[in-house]
Symmetry: C2
Subunit: 183 residues, 2 copies
């Protein structure tokens, strides 16, 4: 059961692509603790590779036809975690420093098959990531940062960090959750 | 895209649990080529372990509310393949001898979240497997055999092979597909 818990907390929905106007230090990029992905010298996240072989932590579907045609993500959200961080999470219930979660957006390809009516995965539509890194993202709530490689193909090769405030509206971390509880 | 192709062909829907009256040779169990799972001496499949760390090949949801309350599988079907067989499939487009696919049935846990209305995974409900093994299942269409560990918890520790005919109705293999085309 533990596998799905994290999904509700961290990966329920990510920022809308391109929502942010960002600033970060070009001159002195922080050295992070994340090993599962790579950053450019100026702090952009390179599009990860091989994540489809990581640990699948769950999938949801939020189709347009259940959201008045205006779903923020009218697709399956298929979520992966890097295997070393998942092993740590499974053992401790904690997201270790360096945890990377990937959300791949996959269109609804069909609504009926031999197994009945429902929602069936179609084509790949978008890619997003959330990363916990206490060095690189020490100023972010819970040290989590959010990235989007776009919501259509071809995906961007690099992604800048999105505005934490817009992400944390849907992705409350333990820090923001504590803040919310105090309000 | 290749990732989803196999799902439609092999794993769209499995046999209903307990549909079969089976016979198999107790005295001389075949020695199979499957390494990712274990069989009992009398040919039953032991409930696999660690499959949630295998390669996720996709998920679908066929909920009761879209099937007049009578879905055969009113859940998410979350499908995994053993990593070595997936690497072979990714390279060649073929299911190698020894391929194991696992279908985990996961209930609909919620229908609304911060990301909108939809279907969100809940609790684990059932477990099934399909295995291609030209030695152990040489008499089955395409050498594929189907197993169910049940559709409620606790799952069975061992599963007997199901009747191929009932499985192949929804799981046409290349062999049965060719047969169908000839009819």
């Amino acid at each position: 059961m533990i596998r799905w818990i994290q999904y509700g907390v961290i990966a329920g929905v990510a920022c809308l692509a391109g929502a942010a106007g960002l600033t970060f230090a070009l001159a002195a990029p922080p050295v992070g603790t994340t090993a599962a992905v790579e950053f450019t010298p100026d702090g952009k996240l390179k599009k990860p590779d091989g994540y489809r072989n990581w640990v699948s932590v769950g999938a949801v579907v939020t189709p347009n036809d259940l959201n008045d045609g205006e779903a923020a993500f009218p697709e399956f959200h298929s979520v992966y975690m890097d295997p070393e961080s998942f092993a740590h999470y499974e053992k401790t219930g904690e997201f270790r420093d360096g945890t990377v979660m990937i959300k791949e957006l996959i269109g609804v390809g069909a609504k009926e098959a031999t197994s009945g009516k429902g929602y069936f995965m179609g084509d790949f539509r978008g890619l997003e990531a959330s990363i916990k890194d206490s060095k690189r993202f020490k100023d972010e709530p819970g040290s989590w940062a959010y990235f989007s490689f776009g919501h259509k193909y071809p995906l961007k090769a690099e992604a800048t960090k999105q505005a934490a405030a817009s992400c944390n509206a849907c992705h409350p971390t333990s820090v923001t959750r504590r803040r919310q509880q105090r309000m």
